[in-house]
């Protein structure tokens, strides 16, 4: 893994941790304090700091360090987590997020928001300082002193050494370098916690050329360290190397016994270690003598070298196992993130399984080809085609992600906006595991955000108004997603005041968007709010103001080949429903022909095919088993030469709840269509959604069913109303007679 990839992994991991942190904070806010969640928050901050340490990202380390300190106190029960602290921590999370973005852009040298940083740090420090006064936290040295010696040693003597420096002995195992851990990075990190006064590098175990393995570690370190940090912090500096090394940390003024233990447990000879300790200033000559005297008095044989027993007496019980498994997880995660896509193992297995079968089917096909039996050949061909289709589905599903990825940001948004607006709003999320194409997830976020903001700002009323209207005090906003006939449907529903049909209509008339005498259905009226004319600031606010920017939402959704509709009951609430195609890449198509041109319709939207026979068209409407069905003739739509008198067929299409038919010359059959975009020249032609290449190399146009249906319905309505007028006219004539 090179450094860039590792940075990428750091960014990705930190983002995930921030999401976890935010989730936990919001859960605490809604469900109350919970030790597990506080731990989750602490771990997130801690791991971010740890990874930042490996890269020497100081700005990030320093900030998360303060956050972590506060969280640590919360975790230990020294501080209680109140509402304002939650808000502060949420904002801190946002700020860390912006630092991570800076790391991603390689602009970490510049602080993204220095004022915010200063403000947050001062607030955090206020909390931190509050805690110092109560008796909860004794002076760090005292805690450590009581921790350092085990009971057994303590009985002997309580003599302390004079040095006010930390003494750290680090002996990394020989394979740390191979595991990608360089002790140097820990020493560098240590110098951020304080000052390395003296460092002795032990090189005695370095073998001569014959036994030298360039990737093994032979170095050891004895460090004299000056710092105000707590023992926990100093230990944490070595968190990621601790299990791969022998590590002894002696706080300032440790007892003589602690040094004795050190000398006994380290692999070097007591004399050599004594010299180092003396040279580094850890012990005075007198103290060293005491230690060595104790050592010779100690019962022989000395405990086996490197035994953990001693170390356990010295090192405050760290969450070693937790840290260990955590680190493993982080490593695993990095492995996946090298390519930056996460795929469910099940999906991958399925794909590999299918490819295996394809190989077998391919072998069968070449065998049948050699035998020259047409029946066997067509059978083999059939098998290969089926498998190709399955493989297509399986590989496309690799691109599918749960829409929860988009939804997950909304709890925070709803929380913040409802605070800002002083409204009581509850967010319900359903169908978060509904999958859609990854490329759409990103493009969906903005329109959804807009709709949600609108619903909260203009839809849901204040508590007092809600009570007056006989509703529950707390408003509800629901995000829902589900699959329906080859589309994914996303709904944003509120139980607010709903859309006022008459006001929208009045506004539309005023703007000249509709002719005065036009009769409009509810859905047509509501669709008006997506018109560009409604997106002006003057949109009347008590009209629920939903026009603002909704035309942008619509055009964004339409870029994804989707559509938006609004359902609303005045006084009871509004639902905005977005319908999107499942994928943008390959579809199951149904091929038809008109004259010599081939067209493809998305198979998902084809309901049935009907032989049209000699039935003649009546005002763009057909009678399909007693139901009127609007239809269009592709021949006239595309200006193709007239039919040579063959019987025509009707393909019935459905999109959402609307149906329409298209009349074609010939039904060809199903095919898999790889969608190729059409050039800019066709951008205006909404009936076409793309093109595809057929098996014989010719091009077929893919039709956009939603627009076809709209066109057919509009044509049918026009001709029907024209007809009615004509009928009215003749009735009037009849009466006058």
């Amino acid at each position: 893994m090179n450094l860039d990839q590792a940075r990428g992994a750091l960014v990705q991991e930190a983002r995930e941790l921030l999401v976890d942190m935010e989730d936990a904070l919001l859960e605490i806010e809604s469900d109350g304090y919970n030790a597990e969640r506080v731990n989750a928050i602490f771990r997130a901050a801690h791991t971010i700091k740890g990874s930042a340490g490996l890269f020497g990202l100081e700005s990030l380390i320093n900030f998360t360090h303060v956050v972590e300190s506060l969280l640590d106190q919360v975790r230990n029960g020294e501080k209680s987590l109140d509402g304002s602290m939650l808000s502060l921590l949420l904002t801190c999370g946002d700020y860390i997020g912006s630092l991570i973005t800076a790391v991603e852009d390689r602009s970490e040298a510049i602080d993204p928001n220095p004022e915010l940083r200063a403000h947050l740090i001062s607030q955090l420090n206020e909390y931190l300082e509050q805690g110092v006064e109560p008796v909860v936290e004794p002076l760090p040295e005292q805690t450590q002193l009581s921790q350092v010696p085990s009971g057994k040693v303590d009985v002997l003597t309580g003599e302390e050494v004079g040095s006010d420096l930390w003494h750290i002995s680090l002996r990394p195992n020989s394979d740390v370098l191979r595991n990608g851990i360089d002790p140097l990075s820990f020493l560098r990190y240590l110098s951020k916690l304080g000052r390395i006064v003296y460092l002795h590098t032990l090189t005695d175990t370095l073998p001569l050329a014959e036994g030298f393995d360039a990737e093994s570690n032979y170095l050891g370190f004895e460090i004299e360290f000056e710092s105000q940090a707590s023992k926990q912090e100093v230990e944490d500096a070595f968190e990621f190397i601790r299990e791969d090394s022998q590590l002894l940390i002696l706080p300032p003024h440790s007892k003589i016994e602690a040094y004795l233990n050190l000398i006994v447990s380290l692999p070097e000879s007591p004399r050599k270690l004594g010299e180092i300790l003396l040279k580094s200033g850890a012990l005075t000559a007198h103290e060293l003598q005491r230690v060595l005297a104790l050592q010779s008095a100690a019962p022989q044989p000395a405990p086996p070298l490197g035994t953990l027993l001693v170390e356990e007496q010295l090192v405050a019980p760290p969450l070693v196992s937790a840290a260990l498994s955590k680190q493993k997880q982080a490593d695993d995660k990095r492995g996946h993130e090298q390519v930056f896509i996460k795929v469910e193992v099940g999906k991958l297995d399925e794909l590999i399984n299918l490819v295996g079968e394809l190989v077998i089917a391919g072998a069968a096909a070449s065998l049948s080809l050699r035998q020259g039996s047409p029946a066997a050949m067509s059978e083999a061909n059939e098998a290969v085609a089926t498998l190709v289709e399955h493989i297509r589905d399986a590989s496309l599903s690799l691109r599918m992600v749960a829409i929860g990825e988009v939804f997950q940001r909304f709890p925070r948004v709803v929380r913040d906006i409802s605070k800002e607006l002083d409204k009581d709003i509850e967010l319900l999320i359903t169908g978060a595991d509904t999958e859609l194409d990854k490329s759409m997830v990103e493009k969906l976020a903005d329109p959804l955000m807009h709709i949600v903001r609108n619903a909260m700002d203009h839809g849901i009323e204040r508590s007092a108004d809600r009570l007056l209207a006989g509703k529950t005090q707390r408003g509800t906003l629901r995000l829902n997603a589900y699959h329906e006939s080859g589309s994914i449907v996303i709904e944003v529903t509120d139980d607010g005041r709903g859309l006022d049909r008459s006001r929208i209509l009045a506004k539309a008339l005023e703007k000249g968007l509709v002719p005065p005498d036009q009769v409009l259905s509810d859905s047509e009226v509501f669709r008006l709010i997506f018109e560009a004319g409604f997106s002006t600031a003057e949109a009347v606010t008590n009209l629920s103001g939903r026009g603002v920017g909704m035309d942008v939402v619509r055009s964004n959704i339409e870029k994804l080949r989707g559509e938006v509709e609004v359902l609303s009951v005045f006084g009871q609430g509004t639902t905005v429903r977005i319908r999107l195609p499942l994928t943008l890449a390959i579809i199951d198509g149904f091929q038809v022909r008109v004259a010599d041109e081939a067209f493809v319709l998305p198979l998902d939207q084809v309901v049935e095919c009907v032989d049209l026979g000699q039935q003649q068209d009546l005002h763009d409407l057909l009678n399909l088993r007693g139901e009127p069905l609007p239809y269009v003739r592709l021949r006239s739509l595309f200006g193709l030469p007239p039919s040579d008198g063959t019987r025509e067929s009707l393909v019935v299409l459905q999109f959402g709840s609307n149906r329409a038919g298209v009349v074609v010359d010939q039904l060809v059959g199903e095919l898999q269509a790889v969608i190729k975009p059409l050039g800019q020249i066709f951008a205006q032609n909404k009936v076409l959604s793309g093109s595809t290449i057929l098996g014989d190399g010719s091009v077929a146009l893919i039709l956009d069913v939603a627009h076809l249906i709209q066109r057919a319905s509009a044509a049918a309505e026009n001709s029907v109303s024209a007809n009615l007028r004509r009928a009215d006219g003749s009735a009037a004539v009849a009466r006058t007679q």
């Binding site: 370098l177 191979r178 360089d182 002790p183 140097l184 020493l187 560098r188 110098s191 390395i196 003296y198 460092l199 002795h200 590098t201 090189t203 370095l206 001569l208 050329a209 030298f212 360039a214 990737e215 570690n217 032979y218 170095l219 370190f221």
Partner: protein, 112 residues
């Protein structure tokens, strides 16, 4: 990619290590440098173009020094690059290696 360039200056054999001197190049550099040591009585290794330097690099410098001493040859490291200097300073190994090190004025204020 790490390469060793050689040059000769008035009878001195100077080999310059250019690129990373870390775990990725450690095996290669160890073998090549030991080879050079075996074939030259007097050798200077120029570290001026070393970009990334880690513990494995430190160990190889130490190894070469010891091998030189054992085989009775003369080996000097020269032109330590900032990356090398930083590590040797941190590990307090400048004295042990015993090579003259040129310290730029701006980098180290009062320290010798």
């Amino acid at each position: 990619m790490t390469v060793i360039n050689s040059r000769e200056e008035t009878g001195r054999y100077i080999f310059e290590i250019a690129g990373e001197f870390n775990i990725y190049s450690a095996v290669q550099l160890k073998d090549e440098l030991l080879g050079l040591l075996g074939s030259h009585k007097q050798l200077e290794i120029d570290l001026g173009a070393v970009e990334d330097f880690d513990s494995t690099g430190v160990q190889i410098l130490l190894l070469l020094k010891r091998e030189a001493q054992r085989q009775g040859r003369s080996l000097t490291f020269i032109q330590h690059s900032p990356a090398v200097r930083e590590v040797l300073d941190l590990l307090n190994l400048v004295a042990e290696l015993g090579d003259p090190m040129v310290i730029p004025l701006d980098a180290r204020g009062g320290r010798p």
